[in-house]
Every structure is written in structure tokens, then in C-alpha cells.
């Protein structure tokens, strides 16, 4: 079977680096570069609009870094990190998540990465986003902001602003000052990434920002409800109540 044309997006904040990669890719043939982006927001937008097969992604970039961009991509896209020096790229690779090439770019290594990406796409192997998220964070460093994609737009939500998070099927609903943002993520993965001293899993489908809690009320025998400062009432499971009590 002749290789189909691979549609590729190149993301790097250095123009020279993008140019170099483009030239190398042009020599391989069977590749069409559908876009070039200089920062993470542009990359998310271009990925949503152009729907490339493969994204070459620099890690250190302004506004959104490579890992953050990755977390906002459709899991059907193949990604290759292009990095000068980042241990996290190696970790992500070890987690069998994402391939990487080091700068300066070795064309042979690049060709291999393209072949592997083609394989991955043929097998329709989705990006394991949870494993990547874990590899992206330095141990002991909790998440500082949540990124939510709305079509081609990206909302950046500082975790301080988050009131609560609710699980809804495959999604989580992030409640921020009366607004709700939907994000495709498992609530357990988000819980693991947040600072456990400030965010508590109060229920199977709820995470609460401790700052927002006003009081706990008993509304039936053995059954409690958390009342927030804005008056909202959230269900409190027995284990959730236990966790809250340990923190307060």
C-alpha cells in the first residue's frame, strides 16, 4: 500500500527551527506541512481547524508549553516532541505515549519518528493523555492552571478560580464563578494533579475547592451536604466527609 500523504503541523517558537524541520520533512516526500505555529495557542487553534495527522511540537514555548498543547489535542492525532533538552520528553516516550527528536535534528532519527507516527495512525492508537499528563508534571508540583478547549479557543483557568469540579460521563464540568467549562478528562486524573491540601474529592463525582466551603450540614440520618459560600449545595459522601474532616 503506497503511503498516504501525511498532513503535518510544525510548532516551534523559533522561526529558524521551524524552517529547518520543514526542509528536512520536504525531503522525505509524502508529507504536506499544513501549518506552522510559533506558540501554543496558535497550535491548538491550527490543530482544531486543520486537523493534521501529525504534530511536531517544541516543548519550551511561550504561553502554553508543549505538554499543555498536547493535553488539548484530539487523542487521534500523532505527536512528536522536538526538544533541545527536556527530561520530560524522555519520560513521555518511556510511557509509550509520544515520540521525540532531539535538537539539533538528525534527519535519520526524524525519518524514523515519521514512520512510527504512520504506524501509530494506521493502528488508530489514541494518545494516552493521562499518562502524558503524569509525565509532564514534576513530582510534587501540583497543577497551577486548567486548560479547557472550546472548539479552536483555549480558556486558561487558574486553579485558584475553580469553585468545584463535577464528573459528567466522559467529561468533567469545571465550575468557575457561575460559569461551567466542559473538558474531556477523568475526574480521578484531575484529582491526582491538584494540590490535595486545597482540593478535596468530596464525592464520587465532585471535587471541591476548600476555600469555597462555608459549612457542612446534616440533612438526613448519616447523610450530609456541603454548603458553599455562594449558597450552592454539593453532595457529600461518607468517605468525602471523612477526607474533609481530616483536612479541617
Amino acid at each position: 500500500m503506497p503511503a498516504e500523504t501525511l498532513r503535518v503541523l510544525v510548532v516551534d517558537d523559533e522561526e529558524l527551527a521551524r524552517r529547518g524541520l520543514r526542509r528536512d520533512l520536504a525531503e522525505f516526500g509524502g508529507i504536506e506541512v499544513v501549518g506552522e505555529c510559533a506558540d501554543g495557542f496558535e497550535a491548538v487553534k491550527a490543530a482544531a481547524e486543520e486537523k493534521p495527522d501529525l504534530v511536531f511540537l517544541d516543548i519550551r514555548m511561550p504561553r502554553l508549553d508543549g505538554f499543555e498543547v498536547l493535553s488539548l489535542l484530539d487523542p487521534g492525532i500523532a505527536v512528536v516532541f522536538v526538544t533541545a533538552h527536556d527530561d520530560r520528553a524522555v519520560q513521555a516516550f518511556d510511557a509509550n505515549a509520544v515520540d521525540y527528536v532531539m535538537k539539533p535534528v538528525d534527519p535519520e532519527r526524524l525519518a524514523r519518528a515519521v514512520e512510527r507516527a504512520r504506524d501509530r495512525l494506521r493502528r488508530r492508537e489514541p494518545l494516552p493523555l493521562a499518562a502524558i499528563g503524569a509525565a509532564a508534571r514534576a513530582p510534587g508540583e501540583p497543577l497551577s492552571r486548567l486548560l479547557v478547549r472550546d472548539g479552536a479557543r483555549v480558556h486558561v483557568i487558574p486553579v485558584d478560580d475553580v469553585d468545584s469540579v463535577e464528573a459528567q460521563d466522559d467529561y468533567i464540568a469545571v465550575h468557575v464563578a457561575g460559569k461551567t467549562h466542559l473538558k474531556q478528562q477523568a475526574i480521578g486524573d484531575l484529582e491526582a494533579a491538584l494540590d490535595p491540601r486545597r482540593f478535596v474529592r468530596i464525592h464520587r463525582s465532585w471535587i471541591l475547592n476548600l476555600d469555597r466551603l462555608d459549612r457542612i450540614e446534616l440533612y438526613a440520618k448519616d447523610s450530609r451536604v456541603a454548603i458553599l459560600k455562594d449558597g450552592r449545595r454539593l453532595p457529600l459522601s461518607r468517605a468525602g466527609h471523612q477526607r474533609l474532616r481530616e483536612l479541617l
Binding site: D13, E14, E15, L16, A17, R19, G20, R23, A38, D39, R60, P62, R63, A84, H85, M102, K103, P104, V105, A138, E141, R145, V156
Partner: protein, 351 residues
């Protein structure tokens, strides 16, 4: 060693006491030695123990207090010594041939007490001298330790100097340029080689001139300019009169690197890095400022570099130099101020 000292001192003091007894109290030599030797042992112990009041009342905390302490200690110890002699003499009287020993002792007692007090004071003076020598030696050891620490900080700073991101990205730029513009690729190669060579050169010295450090910074910025293109602009304001000021090597370069890496590189639109060096009174003041992306604050690594610079300044200048940081949301400014000393004034600092 201590026991030998104690026995020697005791023997000498015992001899002294016996002599006083024999001459002043008219006791026979034999009796004088029987009394004198134990008294010598006791006085030997007292004299060595005189170190403790010396330690608790050091002269630098007030001469009056030291004198009062020592005088009191001298009187108490001499009085105790005199009474002890009396008891010994009484005990000796139980031997028939030494009958009347306590009578004879009483004759020499005032003299013994005075001599005991003087001996104590002499010992105190000797202890003060020993303590002073010991503290001088301790200060010297501390000085050596401080120098070793400073040297270690320097080495750490040098190791951290060459940011792998900078190095590999620059090499990547060269790799790209070789395919499209051989002259530009060669120029970038030369810039990188020049920067690395100069880093090694300057890093091996104790002090460099501000001018030399600024030249290194310029080489660094020229390379970053190739990588970042129009995103990186630099404005300079360097008072030519301070280029000969001596500074520790590779002090400013990491600050400039921080400004690029954590400031300008984090902004899509880039920005202007400001570099200012002036002489203000007896100080050289260097200011590096840059715009920054307010969403990207508190990046790991930036704080470490600043701590490093601060530590080096402290170990080299104590309170004489400082690093000040001003970081409103959209900008960052690092100011280094250190005492001005010109290369021409300090000939001993070799290149």
C-alpha cells in the same frame, strides 16, 4: 600532656609554698615539704581551673567585669588555699615530731594567701592569652572555610553556566543555516565558539573587568538574536567610566540569560532587554530588565540562578554588595550593586 603540665605546675607551686613556709614561718625544710607538696597539688588544680572564669568573663565584654571576676576568684581561691594549709598542718601535728606545726603555719599564712592570690591572677592572665590565641586560630579556620565555600559556589555557578537549551538550540540553528546560508551558519558557529571560549577564559579567573563581562554578554545576545530574530531587542546604556570596575566573572551573564529565557522567550511578541551600568558614588550599579509574560510566573530554575548570584555576592563582599529584584506582573528587573574598585588600582589581580 595535660597531666604533665598539671604535675609540673603543682611541683613548682609546692616548692614555692614550701620555701615560704621554711623562710617565713620558720618551719624545718622537711615539715615545709610535707605541707607544701599537697598544697602545691591543690593550687595546681586551681590554676588550671582558672580557665573557666576567664571564659565566662572575656575581656572584650568589659575590662571591669573581667577584673572584678578575677579578683573575686583570686581572693576566694587564695582564702580556701590558706584554710586548707591550716587543716593540713593540724593533721600533720598528729605525728609527734611535727608538734606545733599549725602554730608555725599561721606565721606564714598571710604571705601564702597573698602569693596564692597573685599566682591565681598570673594564671588568669596566661589563660586570657591562650584563649585569645585559640580564638585567633578559630577565626583563621573560619576564614579558610569561607573561602572554600565561595570557591565551591563559584564552581557550581560555572557548571550551571552553559544552559543545555541554549547550547542545543544554537546548534540546531546552525544545522538549519548550513542548508540555506553557509555564511550565516559559519558566523553563528564563530559566535558560539567565541562565547564558549570566553566563558571558559573568564570563568577561570578570580575577577574580571565589567567591560570583559559585558563583551561576553554581547556575544551571548548576538547568538540569541539569531535564534529569536525580531523578538529580541536590546537597549544598552553603559557608562564607559565603569568598564574597568572589577567584578566576579560570569555574574551578569546568568542574569541576562534569565531575562531572555524566562522573560522575553516566554512572550510571543518578544520584547526589549534593557542593560544599564553606571557608577554611583563608590558603587557600580548594573541593571538588567525585561518584560515578561504575567501568565508565566515563578518558573522553576529562575529562582535558583538568582540565589546563586546572591550567594556569590555574599561570600565575596559580605554586606558590601547586593542583588535587588523588582518584579511587577509584566516586567522583571535585577539590580546588582557592588563596591567600585578599578582594575588599574588593583595590580595584584592577575589575568
Amino acid at each position: 600532656m595535660r597531666i604533665a603540665l598539671f604535675l609540673t605546675v603543682s611541683l613548682l607551686l609546692g616548692g614555692l609554698a614550701a620555701t615560704i613556709l621554711a623562710l617565713g614561718g620558720g618551719t624545718g625544710w622537711e615539715e615545709a615539704i610535707w605541707l607544701g607538696l599537697p598544697m602545691g597539688l591543690v593550687e595546681g588544680a586551681i590554676v588550671l581551673a582558672a580557665r573557666y572564669p576567664c571564659q565566662s568573663a572575656p575581656i572584650r565584654e568589659g575590662l571591669g567585669r573581667a577584673l572584678a571576676t578575677q579578683a573575686t576568684a583570686a581572693l576566694v581561691s587564695a582564702g580556701f588555699w590558706g584554710v586548707l594549709g591550716q587543716i593540713l598542718a593540724r593533721t600533720l601535728e598528729s605525728v609527734p615530731r611535727y608538734a606545733g606545726a599549725s602554730m608555725r603555719y599561721r606565721g606564714a599564712a598571710p604571705m601564702l594567701v597573698v602569693v596564692g592570690a597573685l599566682v591565681f591572677l598570673l594564671a588568669a592572665a596566661a589563660h586570657y592569652l591562650v584563649l585569645a590565641l585559640e580564638s585567633a586560630r578559630a577565626a583563621e579556620v573560619r576564614g579558610v572555610e569561607a573561602r572554600v565555600l565561595a570557591r565551591e559556589a563559584e564552581l557550581r555557578a560555572l557548571r550551571a553556566q552553559i544552559d543545555p537549551h541554549f547550547l542545543f538550540n544554537s546548534l540546531n540553528s546552525i544545522a538549519t543555516l548550513t542548508g540555506e546560508d553557509a555564511t550565516a551558519a559559519r558566523r553563528m558557529c564563530l559566535l558560539l565558539a567565541g562565547f564558549l571560549r570566553r566563558s571558559l577564559q573568564l570563568g577561570g579567573r578570580e575577577r574580571v573587568t565589567l567591560g570583559e563581562e559585558l563583551d561576553l554578554v554581547e556575544e551571548y545576545l548576538a547568538i540569541e538574536k539569531v535564534r529569536f530574530g525580531a523578538r529580541l531587542e536590546v537597549s544598552r546604556e553603559v557608562d564607559p567610566g565603569c568598564r574597568d570596575a572589577l567584578i566576579p566573572p560570569l555574574l551578569l551573564q546568568p542574569l541576562v540569560e534569565n531575562a531572555v529565557r524566562h522573560g522575553i522567550a516566554q512572550r510571543v511578541e518578544g520584547g526589549t532587554l534593557g542593560l544599564r551600568a553606571i557608577r554611583s558614588g563608590n558603587e557600580v550599579v548594573v541593571t538588567i530588565d525585561n518584560p515578561k509574560n504575567p501568565e508565566r510566573t515563578g518558573r522553576r530554575g529562575a529562582g535558583l540562578g538568582l540565589e546563586n548570584v546572591r550567594g556569590r555576592l555574599r561570600s565575596l563582599y559580605g554586606d558590601g554588595a547586593r542583588l535587588e529584584i523588582a518584579a511587577p506582573p509584566e516586567a522583571f528587573r535585577a539590580t546588582v550593586a557592588l563596591p567600585y574598585s578599578a582594575a588599574s588600582q588593583e595590580k595584584s589581580v592577575a589575568g
